[in-house]
Structures are given as C-alpha cells and as structure tokens.
C-alpha cells in the first residue's frame, strides 16, 4: 500500500483495520515532505509533535477497536492564515514571523476533533493577497507539475501539497478565487463553500465580507467529507449562518440526469486560452451525455467584477490590517522614539509590496471625497453582480465555467504588473462577491501536461448540488480514462 496516495476513506479504513497506523501515515507524509518540499516550498512550518500526538491518540482508538471518526488518522495541512494554538501562524508575512496564537481556528479544531492529523502550516501569498504565491514573504511555492510555474494563489501551498502527495487534504481560504484557482493550476479539487457555511473564527482576516474557508483535495468525495466536518453554525463567528448542514457525502451519487446547467457566454470571451476553452467545452459535452440539460444564461455584469472586487477587498483589507501596529503582537521596529513612528516603521518593515499596495488602494477608496466614487459605487455594482446570479439560478441548478482563463503561468511572468495578476481571478471573484459556492475540478491538460480546471457554481447553501455534479463528472472521466488506457 502506497501510504501517500490514499484518499480519506482509504486512509481511515487502513488505520481502522490495522493495516497501517496513523503514526506510519504521518511518518510517510513527513518523509515525502522531506524528499519533495525542498524544491516545492509548500510548507512554512511543520508540527510534528502535534501530529504524532494526535496519531497516537487515533492509533490507541483503533487498537481498542473503537470506530474512528471520519478523518481518523488522515494527514492534513492547514493554510497559514488559520490560527493554531501554540503553533506559529504567519499569514505568509514577516509582520507575523514570530506569532504563536493562543487559540485554534474553529475549522482546524473541527478537523482535529474529527481525527485529522495536522502535519503543518501551508505557504501562501502574504495575508492571502495574490494569485501566484509569489507574494509569500518566505518563499514562492512551485507547481509540482512544472517547477518553473506558479501553483496559483493564494492557497498555493495547500494546492501544491495535495498535488505532490505531501498531504491527503488541506484547508485553504478563498477571497477572490484563492482555493479554486490554485486547485485548477495544480490539478486537484478545490471547494469554496457559501459565505456563512463555514466559521471563520480564527481565520486571519483579509476582507471580511468575502473570506471563506474550504478544502483542497484529491477527490470530490474527500472535499465533501471535509465540508461535512467543518460546516455549520459556530457561536464564535456571528457571520456563520444558522442553516442546516446536509450529509454531502450521502448526496454524492444521486443522479444528475435532468439537471439544468447554465453556460454563460461572458465566461468564454476574450482572454480565454483556446486549450482551456476546448477542455471546458468537452467537459460540458460530457455533462450533456450524463443527462444534464445545457442552458444558455447571461451574467451581463461579469466584466465589472474585477474592478468591484479590488475596491471592496482592498477597502476591507485596509481596515482589517490596521491591527498590525507592533503593540499586542506582530513585528515592532527597533530604535523608535514615538508611538506614531513605531506604527509606521513597524508596518513599513513588516508588510510586503503587494500588501502595502492594497492597503494604499483601500485607504484611498475609503478616504473623504472618494468614498462615494469608489467604495460605494463598488458596493452598488456588487448588488448588480449578485442579481445576475439570482436571475440565472431561476433557470438553472448550477453554472459551469472555466476556473481560470489559462493554465499555470511561469514564475515572474506577471509579478511586475499588478493588474495582469488581478485578471487571473476573472472567473472566480464574482462568486466571492455574490457569496455563492463554487468548486474547481480537473478537466484535462494542456500539451505541456499542465492541468485545466472546470468550475461549477451553485446557489447559496447548495453545495450538495455542485458536489454531486462534480462527482458525476469525475466518475465519468475516470471510467473514460480507464477505458482509453
């Protein structure tokens, strides 16, 4: 049994049936990290003591013949924007280089309560701001498929670790596409749940009306298992919704025949790479052969999504990042004489270029005289973008699009042009603005063997439908590739 290529159920069953141990699973993943991560850079911090202690607890349960919880013994990684008690949490930033949280993020606590073994903290763009992972203050992450290319961002470490078998699943966060776009670039499954579906308590805030936590996984079923684990109301997060959590796993193999799938021309226009277009169109054909009805829909305000997003996200970020003042935690500059000098120099030294750029843009958009023209205007267009989806979902059960206009680009290719980098999120930001769920699943490769992602967007709190469609597609492509090989 290859211990580093198991799905959640296979890993848990192997530990339950004593074919292996949680300890051996964790050790096998650490060995793989030792071997691979020097060149990939997916992990920022390893938490071996914490992992082996949890593995030991799971192994004792298995030895006593107790039924293991759903993630019993499963090695996972946590994006370094989620607080972990006693375990350094940097948000990919120098300003939090020595920050050790005194409490756990709810999503992490729920994973561990379900038996997951936390291997360590995943590299990411600083404060989750970026689309390539080149904004990490520590090191860029490289795409396991091609080390000269980016893994996407900002959950690049989370995606790369799953793709390179260094973790079974990972948690990422998505504010403008930061789970789905790296999942697409690395050839894994990435799920952004509905806004309010998963508690953000303990998530280091970037843009509070847009931040989501979700899984990156090797299969749709694994993503469903993790969502079932972390979803649901948490009294510690007032934005987590009081909406019942269905059994996403039990719903997976319900039939998709007769379901209506929307295709919006706005997601197939200028800027979409031909190879990506072809892959997504043939995925849509496959959904048709599975019995789905393909229905044209219109999302006319789509071209306005990126400017809307970059005003709202940066405005919220400028407020959220005001807390890094060098007083209670975070870096403090040396040799400062006044409080004001301390704030400025600490922030100057602690934040990277993209974070400063976004704080500046957000502060500008909120400043007297510009608030109405920028921030308020963006909030109004956000209403229009959300209405587009409301309208479309009156006619269809889900909407299928490419996840990203291109496959993974090269390191350095866009890093000097912030606007070009922002456009990498063109198909993903709208779902964040509307608060609807989205999943990216692999749907083919380019000539250079770079993965391509298919995105399925759903109605609010209807993750069950997009998971079911993604699962049907995944199973159908699996049997197809098995038949042709």
């Amino acid at each position: 049994m290859e211990l580093t290529s198991l799905t959640i159920d296979a890993a848990r069953a192997a530990v339950q049936e004593r074919k292996t141990t949680a300890f051996a699973l964790a050790e096998a993943h650490y060995a793989r990290i030792q071997q691979e991560d020097g060149q990939i850079g997916a992990f920022l911090t390893l938490s071996k003591d914490r992992a082996l202690e949890q593995a030991d607890r799971i192994d004792r349960m298995a030895a006593e013949g107790k039924p293991l919880p759903p993630l019993g013994g499963v090695p996972v990684g946590i994006k370094d924007v989620m607080s972990t008690r006693g375990l350094r949490t940097t948000a990919g930033s120098k300003i939090l280089e020595n920050y050790v949280p005194p409490y756990d993020c709810t999503a992490v606590a729920r994973m561990e309560a379900a038996g997951a073994v936390v291997l360590g903290k995943m590299n990411c763009d600083e404060f989750a701001m970026g689309s390539s992972n080149e904004n990490s203050a520590y090191r860029p992450v490289r795409n396991p498929r091609d080390l000269n290319r980016v893994p996407g961002g900002s959950s690049g470490g989370s995606a790369a670790a799953v793709a390179a078998d260094m973790a079974v699943v990972t948690l990422g966060s998505d504010t403008g596409g930061s789970i789905r776009q790296p999942a697409s670039f690395c050839g894994v499954v990435g799920l952004m749940p509905t806004y309010g579906r998963v508690s953000r308590y303990g998530l280091i805030a970037f843009a509070s009306s847009l931040d989501h936590i979700g899984p990156l996984a090797k299969s749709v079923k694994d993503a469903a298992i993790v969502l079932r684990t972390i979803a649901g109301r948490d009294p510690m997060d007032s934005t987590s919704a009081e909406v019942p959590v269905p059994d996403y796993v039990a719903e997976l193999d319900k039939p998709v025949r007769g379901m209506k799938l929307g295709v919006a021309k706005e997601y197939f226009g200028e800027g979409l790479d031909d190879v990506v277009r072809q892959a997504v169109e043939s995925a849509i054909d496959k959904m048709r052969t599975l019995g789905c009805e393909i229905v044209p829909v219109s999302l006319p305000h789509t071209p306005y999504a990126i400017p809307t997003y970059y005003l709202i996200a940066t405005a919220e970020a400028s407020a959220n990042l005001a807390r890094y003042d060098g007083v209670r935690y975070s870096h403090r500059a040396r040799g400062v004489k006044t409080l004001s000098e301390m704030y400025r120099r600490s922030r100057d030294e602690g934040f990277g270029a993209e974070v400063k750029r976004r704080i500046m843009l957000g502060t500008y958009a909120l400043s007297a005289g510009y608030y109405d023209a920028y921030y308020l205007k963006a909030q109004k267009v956000r209403t229009l973008l959300t209405r587009d989806f409301d309208e479309a979902f009156r006619k269809v059960d889900a909407i299928v699009t490419p996840t990203s206009p291109t496959a993974a680009f090269r390191l350095g290719e866009k890093s000097n042009d912030p606007l070009a980098m922002y456009l990498a999120d063109i198909y993903t930001v709208t779902a964040d603005l509307a608060g609807i769920p989205g999943i990216s699943i692999p749907c083919g490769e380019t000539k250079e063997k770079l993965p391509i992602g298919l995105q399925i967007l759903g109605k609010h709190f209807d993750e069950a439908t997009i998971l079911r469609l993604a699962y049907a597609y995944e199973q159908a492509s699996k049997s197809h590739s098995a038949a042709s090989s």
């Binding site: 009306s209 400017p307 750029r357 205007k377």
Partner: protein
C-alpha cells in the same frame, strides 16, 4: 493622472505607512493604473441600486422581524467569560514585542 504625489503622501499617512521614495513612486504608478481600470464601473448607471455590504443578511435571518432583530441567531448574552474564558495575562502578553507582567509597553505617548 488621478492620484498625485501629494495624494500618495496623504493616503500613506492615513494608513500609518511611511514608504520609501522608491515605494512612493511605485504607488503613484500602480494606483493610477488600477484606478484607470476601475473607472469602467462608471459605465453603469447605479443611481437606483442599493449598495451591498455583505451576504449574511440573505440567509438564516428571521424575516418576520425588523432591523438587527432579524439576526437573532447571531446575538448572545453580554456576559463575562460567556463563550470562552478570557486569556490569562501571561498568555495574552506572550506575543507582545514589549510587556511587563500586566501591560503592553509602548514608547511614551504623553509629552511633559
């Protein structure tokens, strides 16, 4: 050019950033290029469109109530140590760059 050097200095001041001369020049270029792009929002007439600040007000709310009473599920009793115990001082101060046993220490604020 929408943003001037003076604006950059003013906004940096609001954001508690100092920025080097080189960083300011970069900001001037990048903010102008991004704001030029953002200008396309003005193609849309939004005079009758309400602003949207968040998604949460669409789900799980009690539609029969008004105002913040609609979010009954999100409210809680305002009591000390309700949901979680307060951190002991030592733990709360553990990440501080400078502290004594009970307080965070910062450079002197009041001149005399």
């Amino acid at each position: 050019m929408k943003v001037t050097e003076k604006d950059v200095a003013y906004v940096a001041d609001l954001a508690n950033l100092e920025l080097t001369e080189q960083e300011r020049a970069g900001m001037l270029r990048d903010l102008n290029s991004i704001l030029d792009y953002v200008d396309r929002l003005n193609e849309l007439d939004t005079s009758d469109v309400p602003p949207m600040a968040q998604v949460s007000d669409r789900y799980g709310v009690d539609e029969s109530k008004q105002g913040s009473a609609r979010f009954a599920y999100a409210s809680r009793e305002d009591i000390v140590e309700g949901l979680r115990k307060s951190l002991p001082h030592a733990e709360a101060l553990a990440n501080a760059p400078d502290a004594d046993e009970d307080f965070f220490r910062v450079p002197k604020v009041i001149e005399r």
